[in-house]
Amino acid sequence: MSLSNPLPFKQRVEQGLNDPFLRQSLKNAQARFREGKQRAAQILGNLEEWRTRAEAIRHHTIEHLDYYLDQFATNVENNGGTVFFAETEQEAVDYLIRLAKAKQAKTVIKSKSMVSEETHVNKRLEEIGVEAIESDLGEYIIQLAKEMPSHIIAPAIHKNRRQIAQLFAEVAGKELPEDTSALTRFARHQLRDKFLNADIGISGCNFAVAETGSIVLVSNEGNARLTTTLPKTHVVMMGMERIVPTWEDLDAVLSLLPRSATGQKITSYVTALTGPRRENDQDGPEEMHVIIVDNGRSNALGTEYQSILHCIRCGACLNVCPVYRHIGGHAYGGVYTGPVGAVLTPILEGFDEWEELPYASSLCGACTETCPVKIPLHDMLIDLRRDEVDEKRSPGVERFIFRLFGTAMNNPALYRLGLKMAKHLLKPFADDEGFLNKGPGPLKAWTEERDFPAPAKESFREWWQRAGRYGGDPDGR
């Protein structure tokens, strides 16, 4: 994957940290989403039971993914749809390009699809002269800004009203008022025409139901409905894990998705699509193509990371993450941001471009605690760090120091010597309160971000030898 923001990780983080609007809006959004989720949980009254059930359903589904995909694909075909299995990004997009050419498509309208972001569909369509238009208001904004989503459910959260008005003004060729309803009206008017004239509609897939071969889409705006109704060809791009066995299973995950995301009990629109339009139907697409995408997801199967495929893309982990709050979505560099992105992106694409991501976490565990399908996100971040160390991706100096530390820990005499030396060596760097805020050598990176306590004048072992089990208090026996 090529980054939309080509800067190195640390500079991306710097950018996020130095954007006061971004930080304030993330803080506000997190607070609102989090409160919404808490209220929704209170109303349910038994959230833990829901989470346990949803986790069990997701676990069962992923454990039998090949069976349910086969069942789903057979049912889609029986309903008159076409299924294509794409192992790679290239295969997925090539299929779409072939289809666009066969349909002589000039414009494609899209409703929100993370898989299409992942596979860079817009860029590839543009290369063959097909205009791809995002219809979700947030996605439309970031498309005009030539950026990636910075939040799974609020993609343009980093943009302020003035920036949005400027982006829309460029399209309109005139100034527009910086007013939400005026801007929304402009987008509605602009996009209506695109909907009515688009040759192909591309949607994502929130859930696919294996037992009937149906696609379930949730949206608040209704753009997913327009995308899947007006154009004569509908293409569904779905990650291969987006499946549930039955409609009953859907109940658990569909009820949890909006509650975990924004606190809504249900989104404005939930649409179940089963094949293309039927004989007597006047609206709906003539053809439905479902592209089932692996693109690295199978890397997680059979490993300790398998449950990352349980994710239902609610964004709840983003809404509680203190790191995300400070650095924003673009700092993560990939399509998926926040804790889920820090885990998923290196799994999908390997560590080469993403080795910093598992470190973009405070390991506070808030993400794990909030996840509606109980993915142990912060444990996975630790495991990924371990994998990086095993692959010798950590800095050479760090590896040397830990080797030294390991040797010293195994040898009491060396350990004692080390403690004594550290005390004397670090003394000149300590401030009046006994903290190092500008550490030497390997401590430099640590003390750039936070203080490090200087070794005590008397170590615990020295104190123990002197005072023993009476705690150093002559009267305390």
Binding site: L44, R53, H60, L65, D66, Y67, Y68, L69, D70, N79, F85, A86, T88, E91, L137, G138, A154, P155, A156, N160, R161, T180, T184, A187, R188, L191, E211, T212, N220, E221, G222, R225, L226, T228, T229, L230, W247, E248, D251, A252, K265, I266, T267, S268, Y269, V270, T271, A272, L273, T274, R278, N280, D281, Q282, D283, I292, D294, S298, L301, G302
Partner: protein, 231 residues
């Protein structure tokens, strides 16, 4: 190009077993949703539906019987100044009453969604309509949702393109929640290429988290709720 068998076999290989020919689904003795909206009378379900939809700025017009539907719908249309209407032709009694009512309205242009009319003309009519009228199969008390089955004369765009979506719903068809409607879907979805659950108007909070109504779909939803559960 990955073929289906190779794709599925790769998954099986990663999972360390052959592709199963049969799967035993876990059986649950109870569900986390069992306690929701249970034990409510039909009247309480209907009231909850009204409250939930109203909280989302949806409007509910209570009508005591089907016989009073024509007057209530006509009055609403006149008061709101609707000039162009697009409507389903639903086979139910309510659907027939609706068609008769609309046929009698003067100075108002109604287009009926029809499998014999031209697609482009229907889309244009829906796009220009002030009001799209549909008949719901169910209402969900927990969320204030209406459930629409789309096919043939029951076009998908009627509830989507006009500026207001009008829905006829019987109180007796209001059920507790999603659970009861999903349990029917296995048998129903093969007959309907599209089923819509609609809860309130089209909305977005994409501009600085500021709520905005009517982004793509209707900015208003009005439910003509026939209190047949009381009779």
């Amino acid at each position: 190009m990955a073929d289906r068998q190779a794709f599925l076999q790769k998954i099986a290989h990663k999972l360390g077993r052959p592709t199963p020919t049969q799967v035993n689904r876990p059986r649950w003795t109870r569900h986390p949703w069992d306690h929701l909206c249970q034990g409510l009378t039909q009247s309480e379900l209907v009231d909850q539906f009204e409250q939930e939809l109203s909280a989302l700025t949806g409007e509910v017009v209570r009508i005591s019987t089907l016989q009073e539907l024509p007057e209530a719908v006509s009055r609403w249309i006149q008061e709101e100044g609707c000039k162009r209407i697009v409507a389903w032709q639903h086979p139910s009694a309510a659907g027939q009453v609706l068609t008769e009512t609309l046929n009698q309205l003067r100075d108002i242009h109604t287009t009926y969604w029809s499998s014999s009319a031209g697609r482009e003309a229907l889309i244009a009519a829906a796009e220009q309509a002030d009001l799209g009228l549909v008949v719901a199969e169910h209402g969900l008390a927990e969320t204030g949702t209406v459930v629409l089955y789309n096919r043939g004369e029951q076009g998908r765009l009627v509830s989507l393109l006009p500026t207001t979506c009008g829905v006829i719903l019987h109180g007796s068809q209001i059920i507790p929640r999603l659970t009861q409607v999903l349990s029917q879907f296995k048998g129903i979805v093969p007959d309907y290429s599209c089923i819509n659950l609609i809860t309130g108007p089209s909305r977005s909070a994409d501009i600085e988290m500021d709520l905005s109504i009517g982004v793509h779909g209707p900015g208003r939803i009005v439910v003509f709720l026939i209190d047949d559960h009381l009779s």
